[in-house]
Symmetry: C2
Subunit: 240 residues, 2 copies
């Protein structure tokens, strides 16, 4: 095949992200322990995030507001204002955290950049995502950075058109089957799935979706790798 | 001149926005009245927003988090968790509010669309801004919607390049001198300023900037109108 561009998801593909949500959630559970069990705290937080997703969108600020709302609900309003302020501080700490790159990311991108256009396609909070790209030291490597509200087929088609990329010549690398792989395969591109150690509930694909996906996927459209360091060799193989 | 595209700011140019912030701020001041004077509440909120801007970016979610932080500061931690939850609800109500169009907006855009490419360029929260465009019923009129983290010369240059628009042939219509007019004039485009009844503190341009701006501005580059209904006649005049 010919390759017009190689696109990368950012969170949990180029740098660690979900680990910060997990450790903040652990602090949330601990803070709410006078009022709720571990399991109740986690499920109420997840349900609050889900309920607010259409209104808030993705990202740390949305997560922080949902933590405050869930804390009120779990405590029946008995949580102290100091504890709510502590939740706000946990959110700010997440926003302040520098982007910690996953192993081999910089070398792999530099090597691919010699022969390919590289694009970041990430969803979530515009301001925070752009700041992480800037902080990562990788910004100069990319031909474009696209922050989008949702990663679906319509979004990918719009981005491909904008950059004059044929969808059948687009390779997308990411950790989420739902956001990074399924829409790309649907559009005729190539999806390269590299799982991260943690997957957020909202990115988990239901079993029936996965089955349909496995049926549809042929070797040329979908690849699963363990590490980003394996991407250059795959790209060479795809070019044959 | 030739016109490649006419771009519009969204908040307070196409629909009301700042009025919602003003009424929410009034509710904030009332809620904090046991702890702080009207003036102190307003200035602490503004200072909190300013301090958080680099970390949070623009938008309602950022404003909501800053209200909660400012309430803790103004009350010395004595504000109740119920009051903090009420601030969160005020923020959610802002996010839920439908876009209320300013007078004549739909007719003006439909008329301009006949002969021109129309682009929305708005800053702030990606998810919320896209939702407002969708809710406004105007989405089908625009050739592109660009939500950006900051409206400066670099951003406008990038957008113009992306859409193959020559900056000297770009007309930008907006209510903020700082965000919608100055960068466009600097880049050689035409800025059309239509003031809204309220201007947020962060968009107010310092007197020395304004003086420099007035010195630099010539009739061909900068126009001030009272209402969006005057834009089509101005565009006709620019085309001569």
């Amino acid at each position: 095949m010919k390759i017009d561009a190689i696109a990368f998801d950012a969170d949990d593909t180029l740098w660690h992200n979900e680990d910060a949500f997990a450790s903040t959630e652990a602090a949330f559970v601990e803070l709410l322990s006078p009022f709720a069990s571990d399991a109740d705290a986690r499920s109420t937080l997840f349900n609050t995030e889900t309920r607010n997703l259409a209104l808030f969108g993705y990202g740390v600020k949305s997560f922080t507001l949902s933590m405050i709302e869930a804390a009120m609900e779990l405590s029946g309003g008995r949580v102290s204002s100091a504890d709510l302020a502590a939740l706000l501080d946990l959110g700010k700490a997440m926003l302040q955290r520098p982007a910690v790159l996953l192993p081999d990311v910089a070398q792999v991108l530099m090597s691919l950049k010699r022969d390919h256009r590289l694009i970041v396609i990430t969803k979530g909070d515009l301001h925070h995502q752009e700041r992480k790209v800037d902080d990562s030291g990788l910004a100069h490597i990319f031909d474009a950075v696209e922050v989008v509200a949702e990663k679906d087929a319509r979004t990918y088609a719009r981005i491909a058109q904008r950059h004059s990329v044929e969808l059948s010549r687009l390779v997308m690398v990411g950790n989420s089957v739902k956001s990074d792989i399924l829409p790309i395969v649907e559009l005729g591109g190539v999806g390269v799935h590299i799982p991260y150690s943690i997957t957020w509930g909202h990115e988990q694909v239901a079993a029936d979706h996965l089955r349909a996906y496995e049926r549809n996927a042929d070797g040329a459209r979908y690849w699963e790798l363990d590490r980003i360091a394996e991407v250059p060799a795959l790209v060479e193989r795809l070019l044959d």
